[in-house]
Symmetry: none
DNA sequence: TATGAATGAGATTTCATTCAT
DNA sequence: CATGAATGAAATCTCATTCAT
């Protein structure tokens, strides 16, 4: 389905706005179409069905996170620095797009198990990259070589996720980005050799 | 709403089972009524509406977590030990009731933000108790006195939550409880003075 | 699904009227519900889905044809007389319920192949009874013992069907019933020994 | 509408194939266009609307039946022979084009009464020719001079139609053409003087 | 002539909630 | 207290047709 055409992106962006403003269950296709400035039927020229829109939203947006993280990993830095950059970059992306933050932290989690499974597939790629940082840190002697890597990853991701969700649920009335260094310090301490 | 009558609890328990077995979106009132062995209309003698059932499920079950945690806090122990017991106790409760674990970690999160806000109100009590442990640890010089207490709490809760959710999503095929000490160690290291 | 309850029959009869007056493709469930004097949702307490209504219409109404024909066959008459009574009875039933005639001869034939297959299952029972008459006639020496029974049945049914359909399509402006003896004579001549 | 241009016939033939292979309700304009190797919009340069395609299909194909029958009538034969040739010719045409048989016997009957009325207009020409044979037979003393000609025609057409439809519905697994003489004999007996 | 992207109307079905018994 | 039959609002997706190029 013509992902290069401008309307594809138009609809994705419209979906993010509509879901953020109306909530997942009130995000009817007709609302998304109106927001995108196209007819209802046009949606179906670019997406198989409603679920396909939502998965695509997640894929397109998560893609940005993944490529940012890939760039960070490619750089010649310590694992600690990479971890810090990752957190900062993750927070920045969501802080700069409140709509997207609402959608990923709150609304998309209301989707049915089927859809969530597909979302998890997308997420997994991100978590794999995260693991690369942890492994490097353990190999380089920065992180505790004996720590359970899965648990460590769950701590890192769980902490970031909880921090962002709390921020979103508090109507983002404080600065998320300035929490990044503190979160980094906390997590690093937990994992350091 | 007659919370003392046996049918009140019957319905709450039925709701947990039905949601766990069918998923949040397939947990119709009529199914809960059938599972509870009462007529559909009877539900409405004990609960205002469907949302009220779900909040009540969370309140009743969370109450157990809260009272367990209160007992732990009342004991004469170091903050670190209390934290360890809290994690262990939390894991134990969910590992011993898979239905409940599925409901709290996966299904109830599909509810709309409105309901989730109410659920968070219930959760807040638990988080406040958690804060007491952290404060005590900071005062006693066990934990870093300068750490951001909200962030620390988010790390603790986020890590526990992510760990349990991952366990549930992996069909609880490994032992959750034996992860508790490792989780404790990881978190303590992050927070220690 | 409660076929004994009066609402079941109410809905069936409403469906016949709505389909006859509006055509198959304009017979929305909401129209049938309104005609039956029930809410849209009530339909689904008695029928699995829209197709189920249509099949039930055919089954219920065809049941009358079948039982009439069974009575005729049970009587002590020559095959020729039975054939005559069958034609007469068939014509009478449809002439007395124009709505039903329109539905069976025109509207229900617009249904999709799936539904038509199910309708044919119902029809088969009627054709089997028809065969009994033909067999008896052949055994008793009334009908040509060497005729192809399938072809004979196709002639009988095809002629009746074509006659009724033509009558319906001509807005039943002439008397269908008085054609019965003529049709009988024609068919008997074709089959007689 | 340029009926002489090759694309006109291309589209007609494409329609027959698409309807036969996909069924009436799955024969979308876009499928017919693809099968014909033209763009969707091009269809509308040759046909007023979808219904117009279907009527044209019937007209074009029925034209073959009519001209065959005209040739038969023009020959110097008895009415009985003509009737026999007509049945044989009718069966042959459909047996040699299964797609067409499926379309005329099953699929086109799913169209709405409006369209069917128009199809009947086309059919009427064929039935008129059939009447010529019957009249001649009655005048020549071959057929019963007192028979109701309309009924007789309904018997002839209804029997042929039912025979062919049954053959199509049985996946044309037996030979239709060899049934022709038997059908002829049956019908002639019914009509003979 | 020919294209094909865009349009937008329209219907089935589910399920929380009510209320007469 | 308890019942359960009845209600009725609400949303996804299809596809014939158009029209700018």
């Amino acid at each position: 389905m013509r992902k290069d055409k401008p309307k594809y992106k138009q609809i994705i962006d419209a979906a993010v706005i509509v879901i953020a403003e109306n909530g997942y269950h009130q995000a009817q296709v007709s609302k998304i179409a109106k927001q995108a400035g196209v007819a209802d039927g046009t949606i179906y020229l670019y997406f198989k069905n409603k679920e396909d829109i939502l998965i695509s939203v997640f894929q397109e947006k998560m893609g940005v996170f993944v490529s940012k993280l890939e760039q960070i990993i490619a750089r010649d830095l310590t694992a600690s620095s990479k971890l810090g950059l990752m957190i900062e970059s993750h927070f920045e992306l969501l802080a700069s797009d409140i709509h997207l933050a609402i959608v990923t932290q709150l609304e998309l989690r209301q989707s049915n198990p089927e859809l969530r499974t597909k979302i998890n597939d997308v997420l997994r790629e991100y978590l794999k990259l995260m693991d690369q940082i942890l492994v490097k840190g353990m190999e380089d002697g920065e992180f505790d070589a004996k720590m359970d890597i899965r648990l460590a990853r769950q701590m890192v991701f769980g902490t970031m996720d909880e921090t962002i969700t709390t921020w979103v649920m508090n109507d983002h009335k404080y600065d998320l980005i300035e929490l990044a260094p503190k979160v980094q310090r906390l997590l690093l301490k937990g994992m350091q050799a």
